[in-house]
């Protein structure tokens, strides 16, 4: 317990002076971001269609976003209270997206029914 506390204190002090990580870490992440971007571009280049296209786009997007936030923005080493304060409110956006999907479907239905007879 005492040892754990001492370790935490040292960690906390290290945090206070700033983030210290080997430069290699940033170069590796940079390389991965390049590879993932190249993959996203290839999804369009090879004209992939349907569910495969959307799955790959979302997968590469989330991986890139995760790497940028976790490593480049140092979120992986921040105190949990800050991480939750920033990341949890973002969940509200999924609700917003859900609401607008229903709204868009309804608008499309009205347009098809009333403004495009015969379509």
């Amino acid at each position: 317990m005492a040892q754990a506390a001492a370790h935490d204190t040292a960690h906390a002090q290290g945090q206070h002076q700033g983030q210290h990580h080997p430069i290699r870490l940033y170069l590796v992440v940079w390389g991965w971001l390049f590879i993932l971007s190249a993959f996203s571009y290839l999804v369009d280049y090879f004209q992939l269609e349907g569910a495969l296209r959307y799955t790959l786009i979302l997968l590469f997007m989330m991986l890139k976003a995760g790497l940028i936030v976790a490593v480049f923005m140092h979120m992986a080493w921040e105190r949990l209270a800050l991480v939750y304060a920033i990341l949890v409110p973002v969940a509200a956006l999924f609700v917003f997206v859900g609401i607008m999907v229903f709204e868009a479907d309804y608008t499309l239905l009205s347009r098809v029914l009333f403004f495009e007879p015969g379509a």
Binding site: G18, M61, K64, A65, F72
Partner: protein
Amino acid sequence: MAEAAVTGRAQVYTAQPGLKGVAGDFASDQRAFKNVSWGKAMMWIFLLSDTFVFSCFLIAYMTARMSTTVPWPNASEVFALTIGGVTLPLILIAIMTFVLISSSGTMAMAVNFAYRRDRRKTAILMLVTAILGAAFVGMQAFEWSKLIHEGVRPWGNPWGAAQFGSSFFMITGFHGTHVTFGVIFLLIVARKVWRGDYDTERRGFFTSRRGSYEAVEIMGLYWHFVDLVWVFIFAFFYLW
């Protein structure tokens, strides 16, 4: 609890693991974000609010695109360029993506050298970041003028749904504005690093607070956020 009394002040900053620590921090006196300076905490909160602004644009774009009865223009063809007789789909956007990711890489290394107190390397890497950012804005200006020349307007375009133009100009315009302001702030902070403001703790001209190398990390947070937003714009607007 005997250790808590002995270690005294330092104990205040140690968190219990997991949710208990989070609850403890938020329930504590005066500051919720221990070990996080006010500057960094406020930048994060600003970035969260900016996340909602960009999300509103992207969700508006989603709603417009889902609810229109007219086919959406094919971004792959709209943004294709012919280079040396070969037509490459989306090539300019791909180059812009790589330029912005590279600028994020140089910025991350600038933050690292700032904490090593390497004044020269930090300033040079920040300048490289600013140059890459300016190149990005330049390519965006080229793309805008090309599309405007081809007849894209906020109220219509030659290829399909009228909302394509307004979504495009709004989303990429707002992002480009963020990049432009980022370049300006990068140059300001790089000048301070070069001059040694953060070594001598010279007071800022606006806030009158002591300078510290953490300013480079806070600047970096903003810059990485601009790159982060581009990841989502690239996926949803250009690739979808």
